[in-house]
Symmetry: C2
Subunit: 338 residues, 2 copies
């Protein structure tokens, strides 16, 4: 009998959310544990395992899980490892797929980074349902991306494809980026980027703004949003600036894969037309003529809490990796590959 559920896990720096998901994309039940409180990865895996088992027992689903899909920062689809994740405390290389599969007696596990997981979620259950060519852009603390071509997530030869937040949008005097270079899209169009723009604008310019009532170093993208919504001109211009850069960069992305649509996701999309209007204008204007008027820009319709779990869960259905104890194969009864 084929198993009716998968588990989707969204591992963030603060929380790890997980849920039992059925084939139609319903989250049957979900729960979470704290990620950061575990200074040792082994303790984290043990806690996560116990919490998942509790959830499975409570929902009578212990023997019904086909696989586990995990979205995690810098997780590599091919190796199953987390590599150099800045906001996780467990060292440079974390054997994520291996450890989770082992903890769950060899169940198949698939991992990828959070933006790719989001793209899978949109394709399977969300705004990109039925699309074979689209680009997912996540606008959060950073700018992430998941590229789908011919119905497949593009992982590249080493699992590191889809780093469009690190396209260079400013070649000279660009802002320093977390990746060690300067001028990356992420340094301008993430939530953090919006806050940096606010600080730059306030320092360089002299026109009045409600934002001047705040401690300049504490300003967040939310502050800029609130000010813009109450009509603050400078705050609106910050969104114009952000949207223009993102729209121009997205027009460049089109020359690569000619997608049917972009799906935008993450905190910054809550700014709505403040961001989307200048973004769409710059996008259309910057496109090669052959692409104009043809490419949709959509905002994810998935609930933010569900989207990450759903996206990761999509990976669970086709997960291939499973831990095998080569010394005592008889101890690995739950292998359910295929």
């Amino acid at each position: 009998m084929s198993k009716p559920y998968v588990i989707g896990m969204d591992m963030g720096g603060t929380n790890t959310v997980f849920g039992i998901v059925d084939a139609r994309g319903h989250v049957i039940a979900s729960d979470s544990i704290k990620t950061m409180k575990h200074s040792k990865f082994e303790d984290y895996v043990e806690d996560l395992h116990d919490a998942v088992i509790r959830l499975l027992k409570a929902n009578d689903a212990e023997d019904k899980i086909k696989g586990i899909g995990i979205g995690a920062p810098n997780a590599n689809y091919y190796t199953g490892e987390i590599v150099n994740a800045a906001n996780l405390p467990w060292g440079d290389i974390v054997p994520l797929a291996e450890s989770i599969s082992k903890a769950f007696d060899g169940i198949p596990v698939g991992v990828t980074n959070d933006a790719n997981a989001a793209a899978l979620g949109e394709m399977t259950y969300g705004a990109a349902k039925g699309m074979k060519d689209f680009i997912m852009i996540t606008l959060g603390t950073g700018v992430g991306s998941g590229v789908v071509v011919n119905g497949q997530v593009v992982y590249g030869h080493d699992g590191n494809a889809g780093e469009l937040g690190h396209l260079i949008v400013k070649r000279t005097n660009g802002r320093v980026c977390g990746c060690g270079r300067t001028g990356c899209l992420e340094a301008y169009c993430s939530a953090t980027g919006v806050a940096r723009t606010a600080r730059e604008f306030l320092e360089i310019r002299t026109d009045p703004s409600d934002l001047r009532n705040l401690q300049i170093e504490d300003i967040t993208s939310k502050d800029v949003y609130d000010a813009a919504m109450s009509g603050d001109k400078l705050a609106k211009e910050i969104f114009d600036f952000t949207g223009k850069i993102l729209g121009e960069a997205m027009a460049d992305m089109v020359t690569f894969s000619s997608p049917q649509a972009f799906i935008l996701f993450g905190g910054l999309t809550k700014s709505g037309d403040l961001l989307l209007k200048p973004l769409k204008e710059a996008f259309e204007k910057s496109l090669m003529p052959v692409f104009r008027g043809k490419i949709k820009i959509l905002v994810s319709e998935l609930k933010e809490s569900d989207a990450a779990v759903l996206g990761a869960s999509a990976l669970g259905w086709e997960a291939k990796y499973h831990y095998q104890d080569t010394v005592k194969p008889a101890d690995v009864p739950l292998v359910t590959e295929g």
Copy 2:
């Protein structure tokens, strides 16, 4: 009995070269006709048909052709049409696949643009043999590209993917490009772009150069190459400038698909290290750290005359489109789909 050959056709603005190709990538025989002398597309197709039939007869291959693959400027893989090709005289939309298949009694025909055909050729017979993720860059009069992901050419949702010659490399005061915008890679790193750089350098600067002995408006990339090879400093700097822009743009392309390699092809690659040295330096320096030292930059090893025909022929093996006369199906005996 399965048919042992395909026909590959490379349609250029001046000549159309075609060849009979076997499954191992040997060009059994080839010939060409003039493209431009036909002001009517129907006449061109008729001439091409007659010339191909002559070649088939001469090689006893009339009943041995599985399909025809065609690389042509702006040819669309999905529609089989040539759309808005600037250097062809037959109007905005040319029904290429349909007309050729009809002329050859319904034989399956596959078409794509020349850069995608080159990518297929490299993957099937050339430097990218065995690679599943690479990017082909053609450096000729323009800059073309063919992107291969998971072993498949990326066509995008409408067949227009892979226009990386039109990535914007200069956002302000960029050069006018043939696509109607400004600042495109092609305006800098094509053979024409090199000549434009030469003219700009000679006008702006005052240092001596052999290039000053030439009529400034007639300077070609070949002139710049010759001067650089005889030690001309300014000519060398023109290649440094070109290589740096191309290397930086290629580093941006990597964030998209994390390719195993770039394959460079076309006239400008003959400049060798004059171009490749500054290109590779800028490329490595501009890459995100996670990609450094991992991505090959290769120059095509296929003979230029063969490469285009071979690339197009690769499309012939899997060509699906074939003309069917719905009024008189009995007149279409050569349908060999599958």
